[in-house]
Amino acid sequence: MRWLATAALLFCVADATAITIVVGNTPTRVSLRVGSPGGQIDLVTFTVPAANVGDGVPVAGTVPGQGGLAGFCPANTVYVEIEGRASPANSRTVTLSVDSTQPLSNGIDTIPFTQIDWISTGFPPVSIPSGTFSGGAGQVLVSFQNSRVALQCLRFRYLNQSVVGAGTYNGRVVYGVTMP
């Protein structure tokens, strides 16, 4: 009889509710990779022959380590990968832009980034189109809806359209990915 009494007690005390699992909103995510992994900054170098300074013949850039994606990107290209993730309920637009405002400088003279362009290669179809740095901020390179990964190998060229002072010119561009 004991087990019957126990059963009756439970039946009277408890309400028949259910456990509910509530799933919160999915976090969105963006990521950007330019060149090799590892946390440092790739360097693209253009060496202009003395006889060709300012003659308008583009000079191809060289990049150590196959630009960060050996086996996928051709030699002397830079691998660029952007990724944006969100659920359809939280759909966003992912935009890759670049800031090339600060010209390259040798400490005396400058060369604007408008003298550098890139040719997109690898990973057809083209995700990030070929182009030329605008020398400004917020130059949009590509834009898409989530969730997607866009990746490309970029081959950079110095356009060499002016005679410039001798020296080593250094400069930096900053790529940015936004998902407002």
Partner: protein, 161 residues
């Protein structure tokens, strides 16, 4: 107690026949509401992710104690299942969710998708309350989920004899 005795008599009169599934009361479980926030599964390293990998999300609920009221079935041979309803608020497709679990006691580990059920236990019901501790892992496909996603895992029993 007289009212409870009458209720008990009614209850005994409505023990379902063998083969029909009846939902078990899990309200004895300590936690009745669980809130989770999924995270993205894959860190892309070379960009070579499939759409499925790109949209994969996961969330865990650890050490979740489930207590099932089996008082009506003590002495019976039965099967206990965990089932997900086929229609879930905030889920566009059953492909968008898979519930996986590991247990620490008498219930079996397993996984289910919406509309499916999996056996937790088969045998004699010897206790008025059957309990176990679950470690749940919820797998989502971000392409199929919306705001306000929530669901109730359903525990049900089938009497064998």
């Amino acid at each position: 107690m007289r009212a409870c005795a009458r209720l008990l008599a009614l209850l005994l009169a409505f023990v379902p026949p063998a083969g029909a599934a009846t939902r078990l009361d899990d309200s004895l479980s300590p936690r009745q509401r669980v809130e989770i926030v999924p995270r993205w599964v894959s860190e892309s390293t070379s960009g070579r992710l499939s759409n499925e990998q790109l949209n994969a999300l996961v969330a865990e609920v650890r050490q979740f104690e489930v207590r099932l009221n089996t008082a009506k079935y003590v002495g019976r041979e039965a099967e206990i299942y965990l089932r997900l309803p086929v229609a879930i608020i905030g889920l566009h497709s059953p492909a968008g969710l898979r519930l996986e679990w590991r247990t620490r006691g008498r219930f079996a580990s397993g996984s289910v998708r919406p509309g499916e059920r999996m056996l937790l236990f088969r045998g004699a019901i010897s206790q008025p309350v059957m309990e176990d501790t679950f470690d749940f892992v919820l797998h989502f496909d971000g392409r199929y989920i919306q705001r306000g996603l929530q669901f109730d895992p359903i525990y049900e029993i089938e009497i064998l004899r």
